[in-house]
Amino acid sequence: MFNTKEYRLRRVSFSPKGRIVLALAGVSLVGLLTMTMVVGADDKNPFAGDAKAAKLGEFQFRINCAFCHGLSGRGGGRGPDLTRARKRHGNADADLFRTISQGVPGTAMPAGTNGGIGVGMTDEEIWQVITYLRSVQVKAPEKPVGDAAHGKELFYGSARCGTCHMVEGKGGRLGPDLTVAGSVRSADSLVESVRNPSRRLAQGIKEAAKEFPQEYETVTVTTPDGKKITGVTMNEDNFSLQMMDADEKIHLFEKDKLKSFEKSRESLMPPYDAKMLSDKDLNDLVAYLLSVGTK
């Protein structure tokens, strides 16, 4: 197993594709702001434990929240897993109510009233959504099942994640920064991104007013002097390309000057199968990301 992994790593590192990119998807630097508003202790959910309200809340959730948080609330490429007991912006009913009704400044989470999420929810509907979320919440606070310390060793060691990914300021630049990945992503989706990184490419820069964020697409160009360069797309429009190659060098191109230009949705990060990274090691790796993300 070890040999296979080494072989794969070495083979990849000599290929034109350059180093491995651990393109964990959907990680954005959202959710870092701490809310400071004081909420009264009487801000309790009037529907707490009411199964009927939870059902209505599920419908509201699907209409207003599922676009980012997934149909079942377990997160997706865009928003955090909300079935986790520990919420980044507060766990109390009042915290959830505030997060939904006011949004989270500086993040993609909009205010849940008119002009914000969907086409608006009433206070009652927001409480229904909270009731639903409580009904699908995992019972115990999510604890990493693996060995986070060993996961960190793997990250910067034999699994070589740190070659391309940064966590808390340490690591590579070619893939997305994973500092908050453990906060905004479910453990399942982290696992999926390691095993099958091309399934859902990570999101990169999100420009004001632009509908879709740039993704970590693989790009290969031939420069005017005939040099072939492969890397990740940092940004792109109809006429220009900003890319980073495997040596973390940024290249800025005008497309019409290039001899060739080819994009691929095959991530530069290789899929880590069980031979390259055992289930146990992967668990440890995820445990490390969760421990950092939920600090």
């Binding site: 002009g115 632009k210 429009d237």
Partner: protein, 529 residues
Amino acid sequence: MKKLFCLPVILLTAGVFAGNVNGQVTFQRLLDSSKEPQNWLTYSGDYAGRRFSTLDQINKANAHALAPKWVYQTMATDRFETTPLVVDGILYGTGQDDRAFALDARTGRPIWQYQRQLPSDIRPCCGRVNRGVAILGDKVYMGTLDAHVIALDAKTGSVVWDVAAVDYRKGYSFTPAPLVVKNLVIIGVSGGEYGIRGFVDAYDADTGARKWRFYTVPGPGEPGHESWEGDSWKIGGAPAWITGVYDPVYNQLFWTTGNPSPSNRGEGRAGDNLYSNSLLALDADTGKLKWHFQFTKHDEHDWDATEVPVMIDLGEKHLIAHANRNGFFYVLDRATGKVVSANPYGKVTWSKGADAEGHPVAEKSSTPTFEGTRVCPGAAGTTNWMSPTYDPQTKLFYVTAREQCDIFSTAPQPYEEGHAYYGSAYFPNDETEPYWGALRAIDPSDGKIKWEFKHPSPTWSGVLSTAGGLVFSGDAEGNFIAFDAASGKPLWHFQMGAAVYAGPMAFAVDGKEYVAIAAGSALFTFGLP
């Protein structure tokens, strides 16, 4: 020599300019808009909806030299969707949060600005947006997010009249530019995500008195009422939120309508749900329905037909072309509403083709489910409200296309007045399947795509064609681009710094042609050096 040469030019310019500023826009001028190509008098540039300018000073040979001339900033957030009008040197536009403005069209300097004081509890489903004004006489007209229609003095921006069309608290609002026909200000309502009952209204341009209303969902006893289950018609939706066009030959308005409510759930509203997602031919004087064509029956995918219909003449045939959100490009007979052709112009999975009457037949498998059903096109459609253009020189129809499939899920939702009501959620199917955009040139004579220019991501920019052999459009990455109308080759572009959600237009002042488009919170104009 130089001084002597300049003097008569200045005199001539000043004389023409002074005369024009005081000239009133009459219905006759609107009818004859092609006789004054320096002006842009209606939302789509002419009554036919062509968004075609006969100006040719900017053309294929010199487009590469285009440069920004001025920029007007609203400094407002949300999308800036205006198509400005230009009348005799003055540009009239609207912006986010129901603002309006008049600018010196040569310099961009504001002459007046109007800001509506909106209530805090308005119900804009999809942004605090407005797409423009209409003009007649000495007034400009706009619809507001609190569902009023207002007339502003064209010289000062003062409110001349202000009429509440309907209670905005029930989910109604206005976003499109009105259309002036004769002495009527015509506008369709928004609110298809709130279980409204849609309508098209006509107001007396002088007084604001309502002259007629056509309900896009027929009431008891009216034809089409039987296409609704039970009382579902009362909250049937079918808004009419894009500016229509006018055919003076038949004195006929062509107005399009949006989705039935709730948009992504058909349960409880069995039937075709007339006149949702339809093209309506209305008598301009009375608002009476002459004929209709429903593009998507019993829609469950939010495929509003609120795309500008375009009147085109091919030989002896008087036609109307419509690139629909459901992925089909339709050509209809203008007099009868009969379908001449219906062809896909993007990826379509919900239907394998049209029946004898030109209605695409829906596949059962496309119905949204609780778990989610993948359907192409997605909810935003193969195109959307962004204006297409028809160039009578190339005889091509240009449209912004989107390639994006969605997962449509559905869930029951009780109706509550004034609250969101669409019964489902949808998501981009973004696993391994990229979404992208394109500018496509379609030949209306056979529905075939003559050329395509691909965008890296879907855009919401409208399209303008000009007699200079050019087509102008924007992209989601902030570029404004001039294309060779015949080949689709980009000849020039400018990076405006924010995505485009508006349609371009052209005008001229003092003999100089300009092209304008909104992007971000700014209105940009471009011209030759």
